[in-house]
Symmetry: C2
């Protein structure tokens, strides 16, 4: 019973956003230094691919990867599907992943969200969210790769700026990628309503 | 030529989100202190109303109000209409305003944006954006009123937390409303791509 969504003969799994967007990113525009040079189109290993989230990624360990970052809870396939559909309908969600195609598992992820504004001539503002890399893949510049990918993507889709909140220990990392603490204006504050499960 | 969109006999101007949401907010849940007590439903003056952005607010000085906050540029009525429509279609945009109904002008505004997540059981995260109050209306607690309104709204629509970025001089104000700098994790960084017009 049921269809094998990823089986041979099935049509390719639906993308959250057009994968062509990632192929045209110009990594020479980023202040980040890659040694050796890699990019979203050429991530450095032939078994690695950088691409938008796909509906089939529930089966490729997407939530297990996120749980290395923070609590995820028990998200069913149905919940995942619904959220995927809602994000796609809303627009402005660019969840981006790195897959190890040898084992069909996701090993890195970062999200660009795009907020519509009235200010600055009805501009768009990007935000970097939920960055995670499987730490058994150290030394492959994957953290840098996934962050630079979605940062260039923000510019590609027309954002006037890209923002992030981070812990103290990550400031230097993000500075090497072009992010700045703006003097007198760099405070991230939160109000928490519930203990998330 | 053309219709008077606000003239007598015209149907009420379209809201960005259901105004009923604001009527049911429980201001006793906020740690903010109001003297005298006011709320979104009872803002303290009979000529004042707190409500969602309406399509007719282009003619009530919405963009002029925002220009007290930052650059807005020359946004035409068509551009405003398109952005209003896009926000409504996307969902998750709660632009909220205070009107002085005696002169049919907006005197305060703040935006809640709601971001869909996979983490924390497919949770929602709120953000406070673009807070502005006309400073000729000092002493009426309007800054506090509009921020508490959208903060309670975030909880009402199911966000697990609400976030904001702010300048150093505003930290104390936001602390009185329940926002916190989380030790070691309160850095807001930005990368700017273009000089916005």
């Amino acid at each position: 019973m049921g269809m094998d969504r990823n089986g041979s003969g099935a049509k390719p799994s639906e993308y959250l956003y057009p994968p062509e967007l990632l192929q045209r990113l110009d990594f020479s525009k980023s202040p980040a230094t890659f040694k050796p040079k890699i990019s979203a189109a050429q991530p450095g290993e032939d078994w690695m691919v950088v691409r938008p989230l796909q509906r089939s990624d529930y089966d490729k360990g997407f939530l297990q990867l996120l749980s290395q970052l923070t609590s995820v809870g028990n998200v069913s396939q149905k919940q995942f599907d619904e959220r995927f559909t809602q994000m796609k309908q809303s627009g402005g969600y660019y969840v981006t992943v790195i897959e190890d195609t040898r084992i069909a598992k996701l090993i890195g992820a970062a999200t660009l969200t795009v907020e519509q504004k009235f200010i600055h001539n009805c501009s768009l503002r990007g935000r970097l969210e939920d960055v995670v890399v499987n730490d058994t893949y150290r030394g492959k510049q994957l953290g840098k790769l996934i962050v630079v990918t979605v940062s260039l993507l923000a510019q590609e889709v027309g954002c006037y700026k890209m923002s992030l909140d981070c812990k103290d220990k990550l400031i230097k990392f993000y500075e090497t990628l072009g992010y700045k603490l703006e003097p007198g204006n760099s405070n991230a504050m939160n109000m928490r309503f519930d203990d998330p499960s």
